[in-house]
Amino acid sequence: MITKRIIPCLDVRNGTVVKGTNFKDLNEISSPVELAEYYSSHGADELVFYDITASSDGRKLFTDILTETASKVFIPLTVGGGINTLDDFDRVLKCGADKVSVNSGAIRNPSLIKQAAQKYGDQCVVLSVDIKRVDGQFRVFAKGGREDTGLDALQWIKQGVENGAGEIVVNSIDTDGVKQGFDIEMLKAVCEIVNVPVIASGGAGCKEDFVDLFNEVPEITAGLAASIFHYGEVTIDDLKKTLTENNITVRV
């Protein structure tokens, strides 16, 4: 059977990997290419690169880094950040990305998902959603979690899948960076309404959080995290050992 995937996420700005708490106070930590190679040879099932650069110089640097990473790392690579048009899809796919993740770009232009799915296939289009509870509702946030769009997250995800998104990344702003576990309630709500792979993001603080995730929401296909891996608090090999001991199937 298909294994549960463990995915380290690399936020890249100006050529280095950063990770902040609740999207603020970013700390720069390492070279993305080196980190990608390290993860690839230490059990990561896939890598996600988010380009959080704003300038065009930064974008050029990002695509250079992406190309270098893709030429050295032979596991699936998903790229997000700054994806607003089909040209952006084209740009990162040519650098060696396998899947492209859209977030704010799809909010500004909802037809982007459909166009990209028709051109590159559903499996290539990942819809990433930053979600926060507002007045008892799961609300979609844009611009790296800074702006409340007013959109209902479950409706937005459902529509995204209908338009051809082949995979959903659910990033809970409420649990992100807090390290108290994934947002089980939010993830269950999303898994109930879609039948494409759902990736959980935001909140992993220890190995047991992944065990709880896969046990409590069996439909979840992957767990994504950044800081616990980057700072070496949890190694992927070790995490996979714990998951195997808990009868959760992973690639070893």
Binding site: M1, I2, F74, I75, G96, G121, Q123, G166, P197, R251
Partner: protein, 204 residues
């Protein structure tokens, strides 16, 4: 030299990089002379069967490719490139494949447990169905990376590995000099690299 057939489908960057990494001399080409002079041939492919089949026939290379495959040269189809090795495919209508192997390509949807997700995407274990020189450097149970919604069936005489997805899904085929992988060896880490390495040593 390995010729990677360029007929206008998909991104060949990773495949090229992975062949480079194992030290193979690979060229992406549609030049008949280069294809003729190659020691081995790889047929890649992503997308839909009908579209790819049409592009391949439109490229004018089918006769040459068939002749090369019949000459005994090691030949590897990857993903949709593997599916094209069969007689026909049923993805949005019935389409003609190359017919190097017996069998046809049908939607997973028709056979698997309906609660399972399509595409069959992610890492799955190989279940060897026979011996193959392609598996020289890997082991039964090793994991490889899949992304597909259609699969080869009625191909008992060529299947060399399956992967379990409520049914045994054809994962790799091999008959004589013709081989195919439904999964992506160029995205399957060391295991995939070792499969490409074994392929590149065939016929040496």
């Amino acid at each position: 030299m390995v010729a990677i057939i360029d007929y206008g489908v998909g991104n060949l960057f990773s495949l090229q990089c992975s062949l480079k990494k194992i030290g193979a001399d690979a060229i992406v080409t549609k030049d008949p002379e280069i294809i003729k002079s190659a020691d081995r041939i790889i047929l890649p492919g992503v997308g839909a069967f009908g579209d790819a089949s049409k592009k391949l026939y439109d490229s004018g290379l089918v006769e040459l490719i068939t002749q090369q495959a019949n000459s005994g040269k090691p030949f590897l189809g990857i993903c949709l490139g593997m599916q094209l090795l069969f007689e026909k495919g049923f993805e949005y209508g019935e389409h003609k494949g190359l017919g190097f192997l017996k069998g046809s390509v049908i939607p997973l949807e028709e056979r698997i447990d309906p609660s399972l997700q399509i595409p069959h995407m992610g890492w799955n274990a190989l279940d060897f169905k026979g011996e193959s020189p392609l598996f020289k450097y890997i082991n039964d149970g090793d994991f490889v990376y899949f992304v597909h919604s259609y699969y080869a069936t009625d191909c008992e005489d060529s299947v060399i590995a399956t992967s379990e997805y409520s049914i045994p899904v054809t994962a790799a085929v091999g008959k004589g000099n013709i081989f195919g992988c439904q999964f992506h060896p160029e995205k399957s880490g060391d295991v995939g690299m070792n499969i490409l390495k074994a392929f590149c040593e065939l016929g040496d």
